[in-house]
């Protein structure tokens, strides 16, 4: 539940920031008009473009889920470069910019690229990253030669090279949108039908083949869909940035969730949002290329999630760190108070700040800060002496909740020490430091386990009493009663 609320907040935040950013690009009155124009879907061209982009964002997000989790991110990049010669050949063959010929050519080129990579790895000692670099740049170069050659010829409606390299949204037709839609629908169907199988093959190939799954077939289908997604997205974002859309939305989702199902849904969602915002911003501005804006939108979403994600965002980790530090401080102070009281055999129920400072090996001023926190938490009462010039003379005593908390801490500490010395061959002088760390996180169940293993001990390795639950509930310890 919390996750979805976070998601909602993230979405809202992104929409707002994009909106504000958009305002910088254009005049406000114009902005309003243009926004209405954009979202009212009145113009057909706008409708077509938005539909295409939304479909593409969804398709790339879904595909990206597999690419990122199977560590194929750079394969996607290589694939998108490798299709270039196929585009060129397809263009020569069909002699028009938009055609099935180009798509087929690109698919073939893509497959040749993937085939070459595995061939290189099988027959030579070349490592994967170099193999990717070879195929990526080699095929790309062939494509460039072909395309620059084409430019010199008199083909009727030539494609500008930058259309494939950077994407050209203006030329997006309904037919193109339908093809993109087809690709996305196929991907979605694939996921729905073969979800379990893909999950297993992604996780443990050996197991998958042992239960009879056709891993090679599934692999080929995945590659085909990937190639198809890449090629259909080329028109919108261009070759270089296609891989961005495969990687970034899925990478963002991987920060939030580890479960494949929610990862796929989040990636698709992030892909759609990035597509929409990119498109919207490009619509508002003049001469703003859509592809980069879509990519940058997805990057902003990523950065936002990276830093502000409640689960493990960088900022939240720092906050947790602070919180933990305080918790440790409180518990250590309570423990020190207990130990001072114990020193007096529990005959008194108050100790002075001076005594606490000595045990904590700190100055009185520092200890005062600690006790102030304890007062806030209602663990102690402070009785100030009449002469404020001697703050060390003030005394503190534990409240009932303070007492039970202090006992709990001391008990954990001493149990753990005992466990270490008895069971884990710990040297006695080490025990104290480590227990200091462990005691703050021992859960109740573990404590019971340890008590059981040690047969409910009463004394720790140093001979001190281990407070039991009975002592805690009773509210005091009577050392003479044993």
């Amino acid at each position: 539940m919390k996750k979805y609320v976070c998601l909602g907040v993230i979405l809202l935040f992104i929409l707002i920031t994009q909106f504000l950013h958009a305002q910088e690009i254009h005049q406000s009155s114009d902005l309003y008009d243009k926004t209405i124009q954009f979202f009212s879907f009145k113009e057909k061209s706008v409708r077509v473009v938005i539909t295409g982009i939304v479909l593409m964002g969804c398709g790339c997000g879904l595909m990206g889920g597999f690419v990122v989790t199977r560590k194929l991110s750079l394969f996607g990049d290589t694939l998108s470069h490798a299709v270039l010669p196929g585009v060129a050949v397809g263009f020569i063959w069909s002699q028009s910019k938009n055609s099935v010929g180009i798509i087929i050519g690109a698919m073939i080129a893509g497959f040749i690229g993937v085939f070459l990579i595995s061939l290189i790895r099988k027959t030579t000692r070349i490592h994967l990253d170099s193999a990717l670099g070879l195929v990526l740049s080699g095929l790309y170069a062939i494509g460039i030669c072909l395309l620059t050659r084409i430019q010199k010829l008199d083909y009727g409606n030539q494609s500008g090279i930058d259309h494939y390299l950077f994407g050209q949204i203006a030329g997006l037709s309904s037919a193109d949108t339908m093809i993109i839609g087809l690709s996305t629908i196929l991907t979605a169907l694939f996921i729905l039908i073969l979800y379990k199988e893909m999950l297993i093959t992604g996780f443990d190939q050996a197991f998958a083949s042992s239960i009879g799954l056709p891993i090679d077939l599934l692999q080929y289908i995945l590659w085909t869909l990937l190639a198809f997604t890449v090629i259909t997205s080329l028109q919108i974002v261009g070759i270089i940035l296609v891989s961005a859309l495969l990687i970034i939305p899925a990478a963002t989702s991987s920060l939030i969730t580890q479960r494949m199902g929610s990862l796929l849904i989040c990636s698709a969602l992030f892909g759609i949002i990035a597509g929409l915002s990119g498109c919207y911003l490009s619509f508002l501005g003049n001469h703003l290329p859509t592809g980069p804006l879509i990519v940058l939108s997805s990057t902003s979403i990523f950065l936002f999630v990276l830093f502000l994600n409640p689960k493990n965002g960088v900022l939240f980790e720092k906050l947790n760190f602070m919180k933990n530090k305080q918790k440790v401080l409180i518990e250590n102070t309570l423990k020190a108070i207990y130990q001072e009281l114990e020193k007096k055999d529990f005959t008194q129920d108050q100790i002075s700040l001076n005594e606490l400072a000595k045990r904590r090996r700190r100055s009185v001023a520092e200890v005062q800060k600690e006790t102030d926190i304890l007062v806030k938490k209602e663990y102690i009462h402070i009785f100030k002496k009449k002469s404020p010039k001697l703050p060390g003379e003030s005394t503190i005593c534990l409240t009932p909740s303070g007492w039970s908390e202090a006992c709990r801490i001391v008990r954990n500490h001493r149990l753990w020490e005992l466990y270490l010395t008895n069971q884990a061959q710990y040297a006695p002088d080490h025990v104290h430091e480590d227990a200091e760390k462990i005691e703050h996180i021992l859960g109740n169940e573990t404590v019971r386990q340890i008590e059981k293993i040690l047969s409910n001990p009463r004394k720790d390795p140093h001979g001190k009493l281990i407070p039991s639950q009975f002592d805690i509930d009773r509210g005091y310890i009577n050392l003479n009663s044993k």
Partner: protein, 313 residues
């Protein structure tokens, strides 16, 4: 309608470029630049390939784009030095971001790489489109270079002697730096690439050497990109040493073999582009591909035949 493959005219391809003195100088400069790019990228690329950083090279070459624009904006000048500085910073910053993402976040390393450089590149494309035609970077130049235009660029001159277009000058300096670094620091590069533990044992500073190499890589890429564009730079980094390693099993031999390979790439590429009337940089890489394929096939056949012989221990 012109045919796709033009008829091969021997005179036109091989003789005509050298007809007049001006032509000779012009085309000679192009081939020289190609050779220098190939050489410097090939030499430093040998260690990039050994350290499995080929894709980092790809990332840096894409990420320099926003740096170029930033250099122009910050220094308010279209001179090469600001662009150079901006590009180098962007490249190094990108590699730094990638490493941060790889180590300090739960992201997988390949996703971190892909995410970072594509974002940088997108930012760069956006920035370039906003600058309009104020800068002489256009899409084509970026993506496959304008090596054919190199002779047109400003010359470096000392006094009244002009040494040639400035990209060639820069490339010469970079090549010399790379060669010197490789000779002086060969052992350090060798050990840090091969065995991390031994490097620590010998007191070689792993991180410093890595960053020095990345800086040199960024400098090389920035100097070369104007000639061959961002993507073909990667080819120049990986093809020479991978081709050489089919024939040679020791690093010094691989490094030396980069020289003849560079000559083949630049000369072969020039003539191929002359015939096909296409991008020269693209042609250079196509030649590199052909060399690689030949080497691959030759060694495969050699292995095939040697496997037929009685095996020796």
């Amino acid at each position: 309608m012109k045919p796709f493959f033009p008829t091969f005219d021997y005179t036109d391809v091989f003789i005509a470029p050298w007809a007049t003195t001006n032509d000779f100088i012009w085309n000679g400069q192009i081939i020289l630049m190609g050779f220098l790019v190939s050489l410097s990228c090939g030499l430093i690329g040998t260690f990039i390939v050994l350290r499995k950083l080929a894709l980092m090279g790809d990332a840096i070459s894409h990420s320099i784009l926003p740096g170029l624009v930033a250099g122009i904006i910050i220094f308010q000048s279209k001179a090469i030095v600001p662009m150079f500085i901006g590009a180098c910073f962007a490249g190094l910053f990108c590699s730094f971001c990638i490493e941060w993402l790889q180590t300090k976040t739960p992201l997988k390393p390949d996703a971190a790489l892909g995410l970072t450089f594509t974002s940088f590149f997108a930012l760069g494309v956006l920035a370039v489109s906003q600058m309009g035609h104020h800068i002489h970077i256009d899409a084509e130049c970026l993506l496959y270079g304008e090596i054919g235009m190199i002779p047109l660029l400003e010359n470096i001159s000392v006094g009244s002697v002009s040494f040639g277009p400035y990209p060639i000058g820069i490339m010469v300096i970079i090549s010399i730096i790379i060669i010197l670094m490789l000779i002086i620091f060969y052992r350090q590069l060798l050990v840090t690439s091969f065995d991390q533990a031994l490097s620590i044992s010998l007191g070689f500073p792993l991180k410093k050497i890595h960053y020095a190499l990345m800086t040199l890589l960024a400098l090389t890429i920035v100097s070369a990109f104007e000639a061959v564009g961002v993507i073909l730079v990667v080819a120049m980094l990986v093809f020479p040493s991978t081709t050489a390693s089919f024939f040679f099993t020791r690093i010094p031999a691989i490094l030396i073999f980069t020289f003849p390979l560079s000559i083949i790439y630049s000369v072969g590429g020039f003539f191929l582009a002359r015939w096909m009337d296409c991008s020269i940089a693209g042609a250079m890489v196509v030649v590199a591909v052909l060399c690689f394929l030949s080497a691959w096939i030759i060694t495969a056949r050699m292995n095939f035949f040697s496997n037929l012989l009685p095996s020796k221990n």
